[in-house]
Amino acid sequence: MKNRIIKIFVIAIFFSGIGCADLEENPVGLLAPEGFFKTTKDVEAAIFGAYGVIASESLFGRQFASALMLRSDMVDIGNRSTSAERVQVNDFNMDDRNGMVSRFWPVWYQVINAANAAEAGAISLGLSEAEINPYIAEARFIRAFSYYHMVRVFGDLPYIDFAVSNPLALTTISKTSEADIYAGIEADLVFAKQWLPNSFVSDVRSRPTKGTAASYLASVHLTQGNYADAYTEAKWVIDNRATFNYQLEADFQDLFRADKADALKETIFTFDFLGLQNLGSLNDDLMGPMVGVRNTRQLGFGVNVPALAVYTTWNALDYRRKVSFTDSTFLNNGQWVGYLNFPNEKRPHIAKWRRFPGKANVDGRFSDFNYADFRYAEVLLIASEALAESAGVNAEAEGYVNQVRARARNWAGTPTAFPANVATGLSKTDFINLVLEERRLELAFEWKRWYDIKRRKLGDVVFKGPGSLEPRALFDPTRDYLMPLPATELILNPNLAPNNPGY
């Protein structure tokens, strides 16, 4: 009896314990990188991952776009009690621990890492060029697009163009020079232009086509002052606009109506936010609240608010001013007031990202906007500027501006006379300035202006000159055309030192 019981217990121990102690982890519901890439469908999912991160709060949902807006003379800080980091970006007294930079810097590299991983995954499939190169081209386009933004903001950068499996191995690399980064960007865009399709199903504009790659090439050349190349690419896009289905929208307002965003023919590259949906910071856009009027029914934060001069210097006959600005709104008590009676910042606010957010929170967050990074109007303006620079002012160059102005004259279906066509016979300098002004107004609040100020070195003029819209005595051209790399990166990798001048 006793022995039998002992036996039972001994057996029980064996069976209860040792038999089922398997310590290997087999996660359900999680994706392991090993063996993930099996078909082009998986490569596509990895490419799409990059788009999701681009359409997040850290980049074009708020932080990165806001930083570019505030840096320019077109957008000032409204509520100066907002986060100090925003005020510093706006006022040119940021330091290397700026919170906006520390928000968007890592996220840009997440986009780049996603693109690199997709490229590596595509190559690993070992398919024929015809089958796989369109995917590689899309991944390389995303990388080029990302570095193009980054290099304009920071100059020399750590340049990673491969899938990272051991991040610690990267702690000793040096910065890559601006020129080499531009070379990489151009190589990626040229490859993309060669292999991307002319269009996607449903003609979506949140994925790049040949036309998108060429448009960005035009912009990249323009930024570097390679005007002849810029013109060539822009002209190529214009000539092939039918292939890519590009055209100016008839009504300027339609560009900023979320409900029309998916069908716009003018869009060249855009970030698709879906209304009233989000997953954490993904698909979370707060441009609406950031530009909205405080303590009114807009429920705005009143942060990104243009200086009053931006409004008052803009001809009231310009339909684009009307579309771009909120100059009156409802107070909480239902009273309709003009901007002089706004409760806090008594000046017109931005309307492009607030007036028609489609399906969205009442305050405009989680909107249905597609935020366009590039539209056909800009291709026309690039062609005009590049042509004037490389071949002098001529009718073709004037014509591109006139196309943009002609559309602006359509006041919601009613033809108006303003803005008139470009006066012929302008000097090259005057014409270039006119194109830059046209860009300032046409692309107002679309985070383009800062890049124009930077590439044309306009800082001293627009921040310290007599007609300054937003005077900034602190502006220092030896420092402020670049932002500082985050201090934390230089601590981890001293080879990145020195930081940009002045920081």
Binding site: K2, V10, Y51, N113, P167, E489
Partner: protein, 1018 residues
């Protein structure tokens, strides 16, 4: 009487001989046995009978020792003994567990009968340890025990709360005062920085079991040093709390009924500006401001009298063959803020059967339902959309009314248009329900008289559901047309424990207990949830999510983990004076990384009962004196399931207006990731004086946790933020003292218990030696930098980071330049710490330490005739508090109401002040918001009266006691906030629970209670 060594471990009996660790232990064991050899002459024989002083029955198993020798024997089943002595003038010592040791001079007598008296002092108590129990005098580890009377001294929301202030080295803090909120328990400080520092609970041997209500608990043992905890291996670094529930005893049935009712109110309020004062203040900033003309005291509007009803009914008893304890408890709390309630109901059933002479089997069952209605407090980010009821009651304009003329709730007219507190209290719905079930069966088989085998199987199932509905009467709901969400979790914990215990003594001086076992435990964790917006009506609540026009992405999650462990312990005692304990556990865990699946945790301890030495017996005041020392390693699993694996994360991506499948690399693998290891040294003494009228326990410990888990910062240009790695060290060292004194023992009795703990927490190593900044600000205080705390080598975890406030600028001061800093009279002035003539982020420094220098608890029990009185104080000394509440209220920017400190604001005519003038300025963390958080709190005062036995016996009642008591009625503190005993953003078990200490924002205040109660025993 010589005894040959008969020590044999049955082959294959649970101990795995292949385990090298075990081998070491076993050979050590055999070595010790060989020591047992001593011979002596036999010249004089004494015999006698040993009886119990209680009932006169013979006492078997009493140790009889010839003093100063190793010669001894034990009494037989009738209590009769025979001993041969070396001479007729020696001294005999009689000792038995639970009885006072007695000595008798032989004086040539051949017969010596002794009546042994039951020892009521603590030192003879049996103390529960991991996988067993030992006599307190034989204990080598550092363990604090808390008994059921202390746990039920006042109506406690949980046993955790009841444990507050009762044990040295144990700090328990409420994270929030809301009904049903959790408590943070730290044993000897926080052993980790990023992983959990919560101790593990072991309920009647069930590791990670569910904590029963205080009424069902017999005792709680807190295991503190490595010797006591190492047998729990990779989960023991934070200490172990053993809970023993009540069991039935053979004898008559005992029915116990307890009932109490408590009235509650908030512990204190803030003094705020009234409508008129507020209007003055705002007008100073905005001369165009027009007051709404009301005068609302928002604190009046949200607080209400709270109440607790606590009932428990239990029955216990049994026969030789079967014993039972069954209990029912019910606890219902109506919170002091509208819309907040908590309730729990549970049943406990503990059955033990003597199946045969050799076999005992038993069953512990526990089932509980917990329900909670919550409101918004301590909001993580509460701008327009998630306004907290408490913070809103402070900051909302007092010159506004509750309702607009149309009947809708008012929203703030200055600052962000937040909801008013009444709207939040009335409209926000948050209902959670948790059902827990736990069952544990065991069988204990006596293979030999000295060898026991015990096996148990247990299961815990924990189901939780939380539903939230935000109607359109609140900003957040209005924004989206109403929002409903429901989230459910299901957690299971299955355990099987098997162990053998071998107890023997050989020679007269050597006693030995060896234990070895195997345990297998599986955990699984499931959760899922859904959210939907835009409802036709606010009436649907969260029970009609399909009625919402817009669904949000659903979520679900699953993880499971396994721990497979071997453990062993050896207790050796020589003459009851020299004690040795060796422990070891080997844990294999699925959570561990590929290259480190097994972890080994050894510990050892020695103790010396110095008081039993001859040279001490001459010192009459010393009745007991034991030295203890221990050292060992314990672990913190720290790694969550799948935490060491590389991952692609899913990304929410929209293409052509439709969400699509998308992924990106989100984490890299670390195949060498290991657990955190705590190495702890402990030296201590247990001392009994004046026949144990006064007992003292002293401990010094030093615990260094190394291989701390850190998300090692990676260069962000790699695309990864960090990889979980083992870098960093943190140290906790300190002293603990406990005193238990029976001051008066006559008709008027007075007992005091005092414990005090000094712990010093210090970061020893960080990744790359670099400072690590962390942030804890409420999200809507957007002016504050995101670095509010710092981890720095040489400083404690949780150190506050900010500027040094230097008072207010006066008109003729030199203004320090600095972008964003004021340079005007009446402005905030900060110290130029970096002395570069400029104010900037380089001027931030460590401005406070939230860790207390010491904490103490002091309980006094008085009784006289049928009256009893208990007074219990609890205190914390030397800890700083960073108050975001006061920062928000007193920045003086005119965004919200302020405290009455605003009346002392700087004006050209009131310059002698440190409150700046009313003016827009950035919110900034500075020493201005750091306060001394020390406090002494009268936690409980209770006066009871037990009705005379003669009176109640007529009613068939054994004992009837009625009492009145009060909790938290007195607090001595300089902290200007409402309650120093709160912690913002410090709940859960993640990094925030270690790093966010001493923060205050919008916390639900703890309550003052007045209780009347009754307890009846039948």
């Amino acid at each position: 009487m010589m005894q040959t060594v008969r020590f044999k471990i049955p082959p294959n009996a649970g101990l795995r001989p292949s385990r090298s660790a075990l081998k070491v232990c076993l050979s050590a064991l055999f070595g010790l046995m060989l020591l047992s050899s001593a011979t002596f002459a036999q010249e004089f024989t004494v015999t006698g009978k040993l009886t119990s002083g209680e009932d006169g029955a013979g006492l078997p198993g009493v140790s009889i020792l010839e003093k100063g020798t190793t010669n001894g024997t034990t009494s037989d089943s009738d209590g009769v003994y025979v001993i041969r002595l070396s001479g007729s003038q020696t001294i005999l010592s009689f000792s038995f567990i639970g009885y006072t040791t007695q000595e008798a001079r032989v004086n040539s007598r051949n017969t010596i009968d002794i009546i042994l008296i039951a020892d009521i002092t603590q030192l003879a108590e049996v103390v529960v340890v991991g996988y067993g129990a030992v006599k307190k005098s034989d204990l080598t580890g550092s363990i604090s025990s808390v008994k059921s009377e202390q746990l039920t001294a006042y109506p406690a929301i949980s046993a955790e709360q009841a444990l507050q202030g009762r044990a040295a080295g144990v700090q328990i803090q409420s994270n929030n005062g809301a009904p049903g909120s959790d408590f943070k328990i730290r044993i000897r400080g926080a052993s980790s920085i990023n992983a959990s520092s919560d101790p593990i609970f072991v309920i009647d041997g069930f590791v990670g079991g569910v904590l029963p209500p205080p009424e069902d608990i017999q005792s709680i043992e807190v295991l503190k040093d490595a010797s006591a905890t190492a047998i729990y291996g990779s989960r023991a670094a934070n200490g172990v709390i053993l809970v023993t529930t009540k069991k039935g005893k053979t004898g008559t049935t005992n029915i116990q009924f307890n009932s109490s009712y408590s009235f509650q109110e908030e512990i204190s309020r803030l003094d705020l500006l009234n409508g008129e004062q507020f209007t003055d203040y705002i007008t100073e900033i905005n001369p165009a401001y027009v007051s709404s003309g009301e005068n609302t005291d928002w604190q009046d509007e949200i607080f209400r009298p709270g109440a607790i009803q606590n009932y428990s009914l239990s029955a216990s008893g049994g026969t030789e063959a079967a014993r039972y304890y069954v209990g029912v408890t019910s606890f219902d709390q109506k919170g002091i803020i509208k819309g907040s309630d908590y309730g729990r109901f549970s049943v406990t059933s503990n059955l033990d059967f003597t199946a045969s002479k050799r076999l005992n089997i038993g069953l512990n069952m526990f089932a509980q339902r917990e329900s909670q209605n919550g409101t918004i407090t301590q909001e993580g980010s509460g701008g327009i959309n998630n306004t907290g009821v408490i913070s809103s009651s402070y900051k909302f304009m007092p010159d506004q009314g509750i309702y607009e003329p149309g009947g809708s709730y008012t929203t703030a007219l200055v600052g962000d248009p937040t909801d008013n507190p009444v709207a939040v209290a009335n409209e926000y719905q948050n209902e959670s329900l948790t059902d827990r079930f736990q069952g544990n069966v065991y069988g204990e088989f006596k293979i030999l008289e000295s060898l026991k085998f015990r096996t148990s199987f247990g299961a815990t199932v924990n189901n939780g559901r939380t539903g939230i509905f935000i109607p359109t009467t609140l900003n957040q709901g209005r924004n989206v047309g109403g929002q409903g969400s429901i989230n459910a979790t299901k957690r299971t914990n299955l355990i099987n424990e098997n162990y053998l215990t071998y107890t023997t003594s050989f020679g007269t001086d050597h006693s030995l207990t060896v234990l070895g076992g195997y345990s297998l435990q599986k955990f699984s964790n499931e959760s899922w949830g859904a959210t939907s917006q835009s409802f036709i009506t606010d009436a649907v609540s969260f029970w009609n999510l399909n009625g919402g026009a817009i669904a949000q992405p659903p979520n679900s999650f699953f993880s499971e983990s396994v721990i497979s462990s071997y453990y062993t312990r050896l207790n050796y005692s020589y003459k009851g004076k020299y004690l040795l304990t060796l422990n070891a556990r080997s844990d294999g865990s699925s959570n561990f990384s590929k290259n480190n699946k097994q972890a080994f945790f050894p510990s050892g301890a020695v103790a010396w009962n110095m008081g039993s030495e001859n040279f001490m017996t001459n010192i009459p005041i010393i009745s007991f004196w034991k030295w203890r020392a221990s050292y060992g390693l314990t672990g913190n699993q720290a790694i969550s399931p799948y935490g060491s694996l590389a991952r692609f994360g899913t990304v929410y991506t929209v293409i052509n207006g439709v969400p699509v499948n998308a992924v990106r690399p989100t984490s890299v693998a670390n195949n060498n990731l290991t657990w955190e290891t705590a190495a702890q040294f402990d030296i201590g003494a247990d001392i009994g004086l004046w026949n144990d009228r006064l007992t003292i326990t002293v401990d010094y410990y030093n615990r260094v946790t190394s291989d701390l888990l850190f998300a090692l910062p990676l260069p962000q240009y790699s695309g990864f933020g960090g990889v979980l790695s083992n870098v960093g060290k943190v140290e906790n060292k300190g002293f603990e003292f406990s005193f238990a004194s029976r001051n008066l023992v006559g008709e008027f009795k007075w007992n005091s218990d005092f414990n005090i703990s000094f712990n010093e927490n210090k970061v020893l190593e960080l990744p790359g030696g670099n400072d690590v900044f962390t942030g804890s600000r409420p999200g809507h205080l957007i002016g504050i930098s995101s670095s509010t705390q710092i981890l720095r080598v040489g400083y404690p975890v949780g150190s506050f980071w900010g500027f040094e406030y230097d008072g207010v600028y006066q008109a003729n001061d030199t203004f320090i330049p600095g972008a964003g800093f004021e340079q005007t009279a009446g402005g905030e002035k900060f110290r130029d710490v970096s002395e570069d003539g400029n104010l900037n982020s380089a001027d931030q420094t460590i401005i406070g330490n939230p860790n207390p220098k010491f904490i103490w608890g002091f309980s006094n029990d008085f009784s006289w005739k049928n009256f009893d009185l208990n007074i219990f104080f609890q205190a914390s000394q030397g800890n700083d508090i960073l108050s975001y509440t006061l920062l928000e209220l007193e920045t003086m920017s005119g965004f919200n109401n302020s405290t009455t400190r605003a009346l002392d604001r700087w004006t050209p005519t009131n310059t002698d002040t440190d409150v700046p003038r009313a003016s827009g300025r950035p919110q900034r963390v500075s020493s201005r918001w750091v306060y001394d958080g020390s406090f002494v709190r009268l936690k409980n005062i209770a006066l009871g009266y037990t009705l005379p036995a003669a009176l109640v016996e007529k009613m068939a009642i054994q004992k009837l006691r009625v009492y009145v008591s009060a909790q938290n009625i007195l607090t001595f503190t300089d902290y200007p906030g409402i309650d120093p005993e709160v912690n913002y953003s410090s709940g859960g078990s993640g990094s925030g629970s270690n790093q966010n200490l001493g923060l205050d924002y919008g916390s639900y205040p703890n309550a003052k209670s007045f209780t009347v109660g009754l307890s009846i025993g039948f």
